[in-house]
Symmetry: C2
Subunit: 227 residues, 2 copies
Amino acid sequence: MKKNGNDGTKALVLLSGGQDSTTCLFWAKKKFGHVETLSFDYGQRHRIELKSAKKIARLAGAGNTAIKIKEFEALKHNALLDKKINLKGRDSVNKKLPASFVPGRNILFLTVAAAFAYTRGIKDIVIGVSQVDYSGYPDCRAEFIRAMEKTLNLGMECPVKIHTPLIKLDKKQTVQLAIKLGAMEMMAFTHTCYEGKKPGCGRCPACVLRKKGFDEAGVKDPAVEGN
Amino acid sequence: MKKNGNDGTKALVLLSGGQDSTTCLFWAKKKFGHVETLSFDYGQRHRIELKSAKKIARLAGAGNTAIKIKEFEALKHNALLDKKINLKGRDSVNKKLPASFVPGRNILFLTVAAAFAYTRGIKDIVIGVSQVDYSGYPDCRAEFIRAMEKTLNLGMECPVKIHTPLIKLDKKQTVQLAIKLGAMEMMAFTHTCYEGKKPGCGRCPACVLRKKGFDEAGVKDPAVEGN
């Protein structure tokens, strides 16, 4: 297997510690072999996911680096960062978007990931966005990903590629992919709930979407007690 | 004059406190009227420029917000962040780029600026990049700026425009523009030196380029003692 990173690492996976990014980690391990993971501490109210990410990376035999991102806190205007804002409401600026929209989040995550990859000679980045069940986030669409990739290539003069294995999958199909990749046991350690609750509040948009996926795939969610 | 920001602000200027961004501030004030400025504390060795930015914004009657960016410090590999690296050398990853290249810097700055603008209803961003005297930075080219603009528009579902008044100007022409805009007195307070020295070491690539511009324009640099 050809190694392209400075230390043999072949790809960098953005790992939030949730269901989707964990599925991507397994996808990347199968495709690339030796992978690294990157997590972001951006002041999210569900910061507990960082612990999940660390644990999942360790169990999967991948390194994990958590990077602090302070600038979103300075701009605090959305429900993922501000507990006073209702998670089920709409974005205060663009009513078409959900209140959980963090403007520029994936642009910033991918930029930091690309800079991290650049310094380590890694050319492949994996992110678990989906344009099907994307909750209305514009930075989860394929069109955005292609523009982002071009921007990174031009801005860093480096041929980085962004892989999005879930882009065309709904939650049911993502669960099915996780089964196929042998990632289901690991799902017990993933964190999805926006409220930061473990095993999940069951009511926030992220919990509702996760439950829908497992229900439709006809399997039990190993993160839910009693399952 | 039509106001498009929540509070009447019409444009956001990225103000480093240097000669180019200060010229852009004057350009933006002329074009848009009421403008805001944004500065970044990203661990640069010439952090003294943040004080210059604050002072210049105040004197120009524009607000200034400084945002801390921690992630580049975590990736530290270049001469602007690490005093142990020679500023006149080459980038450790891509030998075609200078050692002062911070991978993803302008992508990140523009993303944070766009997020800041988004929350305030501002649609116009001004940045002082030039593809003529650009020291080999790929993120100062017009092609990059257009890709970045598209990425921001798609990723934030918001029609933000990036203005680059210096993109086709060399340092001589930038000095001439500053004269035309009545910005020359303000140049006394600008900071350019990568070494963080005031009035400037005179030897680092930034100081050398600044001196060349003033010399070729045939005017004295008000920031240099004795002028």
